[in-house]
């Protein structure tokens, strides 16, 4: 089995995450799809580090995880605030900037 299969898997997961961001309406599910995209990128980083024999890929993956954690924290806090003021977690409710 070729090592590049990991990369194909990462691309597929990334695409699925991208569809999810655009299609789903619940804010938290959208956020989860973003997490999926980040994970797919991490997989790609690790595979590239294995291909090139350089640990820099794994370091990048490490940093991605840290930043993703911060992002999740702040993002979920925002969603909670939004929910408190509006009683709904749907992203379609923020549509005042139309036309």
């Amino acid at each position: 089995m070729d090592i590049s299969n990991y990369i194909y898997l990462s691309a597929i997961l990334f695409v699925i995450g991208a569809i999810g961001v655009v299609v789903r309406r619940n804010a938290i599910v959208v956020f989860m799809c973003v997490e999926l995209m980040l994970n797919a990128a991490n997989l790609a980083f690790v595979t590239f580090s294995r291909i090139n024999g350089d640990l820099g890929g794994q370091i990048a993956s490490f940093f991605t995880m840290v930043v993703a954690a911060c992002e999740v924290v702040v993002g979920l806090a925002i969603i909670v605030t939004m929910y408190r003021s509006r009683r709904s977690a749907s992203v379609d409710d923020a549509s005042l900037l139309q036309r």
Partner: protein, 258 residues
Amino acid sequence: MFNMALHVGSTQRPEAVLFWVMAPMAVLAALGMLLVKKAVHSALLLAWVMITLAIFYIAEDALFLGIVQVVVYTGAVMMLFLFILMLVGVDSSDSLVENIKGQRPASILAALGLGGLLLSLIARAVTNVDAVGLTTANTAGNVQGIAQELFTRYVWAFEVVSALLITAALGAMVLAHSERKHTSQRQLSVDRFRQGSLAQTAGLPASGVYARHNAVDVPALLPDGSAAPTSISPTLQARGDIIESAPFELAPSVEEEN
């Protein structure tokens, strides 16, 4: 831990079996996360994807990263997601009917295009490349290798990221803090009893409580306790039918107490 990537460029049979078993599961779980109605189910499916990825990391000689993926990502981040889902509404389900016209087909098309591009770009990058493998990089052990890189070459990024973590924590606290604009009734009554004396516990009396006569011939009291001259009919004043209000004004001692 046993080395799985023994051969450069291609994997050994055990890894191949692992891959071909776990990868379809991961893809199915991701698709499921996309398609299920309940948000909690999506969260659990995502957790499964993350565990699968952790297994892949370990299979690819990224031991530290695999463990961190399980502990931090799946353990902390996904659990955080679940907590927030509980807060927001566990049975809040997304209606799967799309209300923006053309969004679904356009997004599937765009995603397929994106996928195709990514695949072809990556394929161009990795075909006929000899994989080096991480045996030399991991000579002192994976954790040691990462530590070596992290604290020498990437130490600046490391410091910045830690500042970011602190900032994020503070930000979350600020956002999540809620000012109670109005206190509850229970709190109000507790505060009332907790004032210096019990004098104002019952609050000020309603109007008319201190009135002692029919107000036609007694002048009304102004807020400072003095008589209001305009509250008496001038006819009565001229006839001298006024009862002096001085005896009925509130005593200064009582006012001071108040």
